[in-house]
């Protein structure tokens, strides 16, 4: 009688290396130092989280509409609720705020499809976003035509102004930046020098001094009698500044296009502009979309600086509302609200840019 040898069944792995216990052993308590960090940091985090939640939610005041409603130790969200309209629309007249809302909705409708791979009319919507949208929104916001009441730009403010500044900054800077980037790679020494000087000059100075310059020096540069408003001056300053950064982003894309593409375009008999427009730029710009989004994030955050020359975007609105004597001790609430607004936009855009980078990454790099 022989029996075939039967291997006994595999033992399960030791309980300490799999499941929650195993994960905790390798990720939380791998060494004694690591264990100390885990315990101390967890306790500190829980403590601060509890403090913040208690301040911001459990003990916070939300009912009522003036200072007297805030008596607890918690956050006074009544203040934010009361000034919400101001933080979004600035001094835009109440009766006309639907126009701003239409602009917001149009913006969302044009942007939203861009996040999806196979959205219908994606390209067409993108072009509308860059061309027709600014014209429509400009007419809508400014008014004075088609029976819309004229709303002067000094009434603009809040989130709406933030969006206007960053949108115009990026859309106006893109074509200038492309031209500068092409100029920087030009074979004509004079053109190249001019472009390099322009780019390095603007990149070397802080935006604040550019805005100061736009508000103080621009009126000096122009012939007597020409005078234009603060918003336009800020926009010119931001566009100049931003186009220099945009030029560097686009140059990165141009450098990434292999030489063969340039030579192939030339071999097809295309002239400089047509080879750029038809062959090089479509490839280069696609490569630098994440870079453009990143510059846009930087610009979106930088729009806060216009409060220094007296324009009230979100932060400027919050800043002017917290020094209003009608409300006491609401600085933290105001800044939390503003931080939340900026964070939502910037974090969303950075996620989008990271997703794009992964999609465009064709695996050539190490």
């Amino acid at each position: 009688m022989t029996t075939a040898w039967q291997p006994s069944p595999n033992l399960p792995p030791p309980a300490s290396t799999v499941g929650a216990v195993g994960w905790a052993r390798s990720n939380l308590f791998s060494t004694w130092l690591s264990s100390v960090f885990t315990v101390v940091l967890t306790l500190v985090t829980v403590y601060f989280l509890w403090q913040i939640l208690d301040w911001g939610i459990f003990s916070a005041d939300l009912a009522g509409n003036d200072q007297s409603a805030c008596d607890g130790d918690g956050a006074c969200w009544v203040f934010v609720k009361d000034r919400f309209n101001f933080f979004i629309y600035g001094f835009y007249p109440d009766a006309e705020q639907w126009r701003v809302n239409v602009m917001f909705i149009l913006l969302a409708a044009l942007i939203f499809p861009q996040f999806f791979e196979n959205a219908p009319y994606k390209k067409a919507l993108g072009w509308i976003f860059l061309t027709a949208y600014p014209v429509v929104s400009g007419v809508l916001l400014l008014g004075g035509a088609f029976g819309l009441e004229f709303v002067d730009t000094d009434k603009w403010g809040g989130l709406m102004l933030t969006l206007v500044l960053s949108y115009v900054g990026i859309v106006a800077a893109l074509p200038i930046g492309i031209l500068l980037a092409l100029g920087r790679r030009s074979e004509m020494p004079v053109i190249r020098t001019i472009c390099v000087a322009f780019i390095e000059l603007w990149r070397g100075v802080p935006l604040i001094s550019v805005l100061f310059m736009a508000s103080v020096m621009l009126p000096l540069f122009l012939p007597e009698g020409t005078n234009f408003n603060k918003l336009l001056r800020a926009l010119i300053g931001i566009t100049m500044f931003q186009s220099a950064y945009m030029a560097e982003v686009v140059r990165g894309g141009l450098q990434a296009i292999p030489r063969g593409q340039y030579e192939a375009a030339a071999a097809l008999g295309l002239g400089y502009w047509r080879s750029m427009w038809l062959v090089i730029l479509p490839q280069a710009l696609k490569l630098v979309i994440p870079g453009i989004v990143n510059t846009f994030i930087a610009l979106f955050k930088d729009t806060t600086l216009v409060l220094i020359i007296g324009l009230f975007e979100v932060l400027g609105g919050v800043q002017s509302a917290i020094i209003d004597p009608a409300w006491q001790n609401v600085a933290a609430e105001g800044f939390f609200f503003a931080a939340f607004v900026y964070w939502i936009f910037c974090f969303g855009m950075s996620r989008y840019s990271q997703a794009l980078e992964r999609k465009l990454d064709t695996g050539h790099n190490r």
Binding site: L41, L315, W343
Partner: protein, 398 residues
């Protein structure tokens, strides 16, 4: 398409008409560009001169010698209201350099710690560092400066209720007060000892490097360096009989007298700049370390290097090559961002010179040009230093 008539056997390409000749075109374009640019600047110059004449502002830098007549909150050099506008420029410049210099050091340290923390094996440390980076870098810097200045530092108790540690350090809404060191006779020797220590470390590093190349033996440079930089000055200090005393800040009726202090504007600005820039540096460091391929680490382990040696000899030198160029631009950003000081009233170059001095004198062109020139120079200097460092670290290929 326009066919170019070719003549002859094709040995000599025909000369195109001048309007199609690239060389001719190139010259025409460049001359045109110069003419347009010249016209542009000429117009601006004319307009500016006319405008300034109309407003009764004289051009030129003569205003720099006139008395300023305004006080400045903080100055690293002696300054009072009778000093000239030129001196306000220097005061502002030094304040900018101070905040940029301290900010760069602190942000680098914090950024490297955070960058390494993001790659930590410990889940809690890695996640906390990630949350920090994602929160801080997506909130505008100006907002953070305001938050620290208005919501935190201004909300501190007044002088009488100062938060104090042992009656030596005071923190209140007027700033941070600490004992002021008073250097007695012979303290100069301590400074000399410090310089000698630094020089010795430089030589030691060089020697250790040569020894490593020659014999393959490692020398514990770091421990010896730490010993030198602390030990030598300490020896000198003790040898001279500890010539150092402190002047303590004293709590009086409405103020703290004596001692040294840091104004809250500087604290808020420095703190916000450090935290904000550190978040970006952390990402750069993380990317740099991840860029060193895993094979390198494995190879060094196979060679029998210890963990610390792997890090010091294999990973960090390679990661630095990836880290330095973007780190340079973060340093430049920090320097330029320090100009946000003007929003909370820290007297930096922009606040003092481009703000108050410009408002008082009206010399917009000269002042804006000088300020921009300073920032351009600082930017170029930082790029230069970092480029030299980069060249030393760069991969030397055959």
């Amino acid at each position: 398409m326009a066919d170019q008539p070719t003549s002859g056997g094709g040995s000599q390409p025909s000369k195109p008409p001048p309007w199609n000749d690239p060389a001719v075109r190139s010259i025409v374009f460049q001359v045109l560009a110069l003419v347009v640019l010249g016209w542009f600047f000429w117009t601006i110059l004319n307009n500016t001169l006319a405008n300034m004449e109309r407003r009764g502002i004289s051009t030129g830098f003569a205003f720099l010698d006139r008395a300023a007549g305004f006080g400045i909150l903080m100055s690293l050099i002696p300054y009072d209201e009778s000093n000239s506008y030129g001196r306000t420029f220097v005061v502002g410049l030094l304040n900018t350099v101070l905040v940029a210099f301290l900010g760069i050091i602190l942000a680098t340290v914090l950024g490297f710690v955070l960058g390494v923390a993001r790659l930590s094996n410990n889940w809690v440390i890695a996640k906390l560092a990630t949350v920090y980076v994602e929160v801080v870098r997506n909130i505008p810097l100006l907002l953070q400066i305001f938050f620290w200045y208005i919501a935190v530092l201004q909300a501190l108790p007044g002088i009488r209720q100062s938060i104090t540690v042992g009656d030596a350090f005071y923190l209140n809404n007027r700033g941070f007060f600490f004992p002021k060191p008073i250097f007695g006779d012979g303290f100069g020797l301590v400074w000399i000892a410090l310089i000698v220590a630094v020089a010795a470390i430089v030589c030691l590093r060089k020697w250790a490097r040569q020894r490593l190349d020659r014999t393959g033996q490692l020398f514990p440079v770091i421990y010896v360096s730490i010993g030198l930089i602390i030990g030598l000055p300490l020896l000198a200090f003790l040898a001279m009989g500890a010539p150092l005393s402190f002047e303590f800040a004293e709590l009086q009726r409405f103020r703290l007298a004596g001692g040294a202090s840091v104004i809250p504007e500087l604290m808020a600005l420095l703190w916000a700049l450090t935290m904000y820039t550190a978040a970006f540096i952390a990402e750069i460091v993380r990317a740099g370390i991840l860029a060193v391929s895993h094979g390198q680490t494995e190879a060094s382990r196979a060679l029998g290097l210890k963990n610390s040696q792997t890090l010091q000899l294999v990973v960090i030198p390679q990661a630095m090559r990836v880290i330095i160029p973007p780190l340079t631009s973060q340093y430049l950003n920090l320097t330029k961002n320090s100009s946000l000081a003007t929003a909370i009233g820290y007297p930096d170059l922009v606040a003092v010179f481009m703000g108050t001095t410009l408002n008082q004198t009206g010399q917009a062109v000269e002042i804006v040009a000088m300020t921009m020139a300073v920032y351009l120079t600082i930017s170029l200097l930082i790029s230069l230093v970092m480029n030299i460092y980069n060249r030393r670290m760069a991969l030397v290929e055959r």
